[in-house]
Symmetry: C2
Subunit: 333 residues, 2 copies
């Protein structure tokens, strides 16, 4: 294992220490229990937004804490759910009296721990709602998940709900928006290589020199098919077809699109895939209204990409353009 | 070779096609010869800023075209200098009557081709100045370079000169600023792995399972020393010490710092290194006024990082905060 680290077990904590030093104007890192929170939290009267999950997917989630996005994020160990006490502490820290939305990716451990934290907060009189993101069309059940996994749509949900809360949407409206985003978004990923969890010290799985894994999960969970590596055009067409058929997306739709890198894939390749994707969508009269191309929800140094499409309405497009100031996503400020 | 590509020889062109589709609001890609230019070029009366170099370092340079940074960038094939006709066409396209600055990294081919282009432009009555960036403290001469290589300071020069030109600095002032930035900036890089140029199809070099290359160049040129992998704290301390001694930086200085990923290193590791760096600098009473942590000048999918420090004055700090809207760097807009 070759990584820029000190001790494998200290990686998440030392990462957060660096993040806190780099972005002291945006966020602070609280310890015991660990969570990352906006410097100005709680914002009185604003609906709070909290997310979290295992580390190793950066910039998600801790890199999305800041104005116009998350009020707090709870990072677990690498690829490991955060604990209920982290989530409870973060929720209490961001509650400005208007309640808190939990955005939870569909992994069994995450759901259980967010539910426990929500109960603890509600006992203390904080209103908490939770929306589970389950946008991955690749497989129905998976290693850590009953039902579909939560992946790229989480980034969109955090941006759009964060903007809505910043505008003054109450908890019920933010929750409804989050359900609409989840209902209208679909993703699929693929990998060229595995990744190595620091504490494990060896690759999560092995792929042959000419193989790829279609439908990979963000922790390296098996996908749909292990198959020979395809050219980017064909690879993109297959992923797009699976995503498009699922919602389904139709001619005349507008979408917010993401071509996301898994962490070890150069921008050059991601934009190449984006070009293939936009040409396919244009051919179907689907217009890409907004897009992200880059590393937004990663799996350590895994090589590969995922595609996310969100059928967007006027409300989502407007919220997308609202200012955001986080380490991982920034515009308009 | 496992990459998200179609044909190895088409990678740069297909990358640019995707970039153009994704960022049509910011830039356009011109063909025959190839360059990337701001949509609103030429801006009448504004000093033009052009850079360029081999592809494979994205987002640099083409991802830095846009308001507040470059007017145009000329991408060569992967790790290959752009040709004089590309640079000449780009320079002519951005000349708003106030002349054009060429920001050139110190590689022999780049310098030769930028010089030829500048002569051709001057024959047509366009005033051109060139500043050569040579900030890499690792080695004095290298595989493609006489003198020091140009690396991370290029990102800072493009941001700061772009802001200055946007403010209305004339060519002489922008040139002087660029020389000041180059004179006050130093960098050093290291690699954990090699990278694979698509057209070559195999890794540029080989590193053993426990080895790293200290002082690596951005094309995989040999550095100072091949040595056993060090913990991040020691690695950062060694790189920082070499950089700090060179200018030299002193207690009381303010710096703009960058911890840059080579393309295949996760954000988690880059922030961990940033934390080590800022602690070292604080111990020396050097204040980090601004910073970048992420992938800004890469070497395809190489794993590793580089550190850049720029001794910043009030002018540089103010220009740094000016708005910028490019695919690779964006704030304030």
């Amino acid at each position: 294992m070759k990584k820029l680290i000190n001790h494998p077990q200290n990686v998440p904590a030392e990462f957060l220490a660096g993040l806190a030093l780099a972005h002291a104007d945006i966020l602070k890192v609280c310890l015991d229990p660990v969570y990352v929170v906006r410097v100005d939290a709680p914002v009185p009267g604003k609906t709070g937004i909290v997310s979290g999950g295992g580390s190793g997917h950066e910039p998600m989630h801790v890199g999305y804490v800041g104005k116009g996005m998350l009020d707090a994020a709870c990072p677990g160990q690498v690829f490991t759910s955060p604990t209920p006490d982290q989530i409870e502490a973060a929720t209490r820290a961001v509650n400005g009296g208007a309640g808190v939305l939990h955005i939870v990716k569909n992994y069994t451990g995450d759901i259980m721990n967010f539910e426990m934290a929500a109960e603890l907060c509600q006992e203390r009189g904080i209103e908490v709602r939770a929306v589970v993101i389950n946008d991955d069309v690749a497989v129905e059940d998976s290693l850590y998940t009953a039902g579909r996994r939560g992946v790229g749509v989480t980034v969109f949900a955090e941006k759009l709900c964060g903007a809505a809360a910043q505008r003054g949407y109450d908890l019920a409206r933010v929750e409804a928006l989050c359900r609409k985003v989840n209902g209208n978004g679909r993703s699929m990923g693929m990998a060229l290589t595995s990744c190595t969890v620091p504490a494990a010290g060896k690759p999560t799985f092995e792929l042959g020199e000419d193989e790829m894994e279609m439908g990979i999960g963000i922790h390296g969970e098996p996908g749909r098919e292990r198959m020979p590596l395809l050219p980017a055009a064909e690879l993109t067409a297959r992923m797009a077809a699976t995503i498009l058929a699922d919602l389904p997306f139709r001619g005349g739709d507008e979408v917010i699109a993401m071509v996301n890198g898994m962490g070890g894939t150069p921008l050059m390749e991601l934009y190449l895939v984006y070009g293939e994707l936009e040409r396919i969508l244009r051919g179907l009269r689907i217009r890409v209204a907004r897009r992200l191309v880059g590393n937004y929800i990663t799996s350590l140094e895994m090589a590969g990409c995922s595609i996310t499409l969100l059928k967007a309405d006027d409300e989502m497009r407007a919220l997308w353009d609202d200012p955001v100031l986080t380490p991982g996503l920034q515009w308009g400020i």
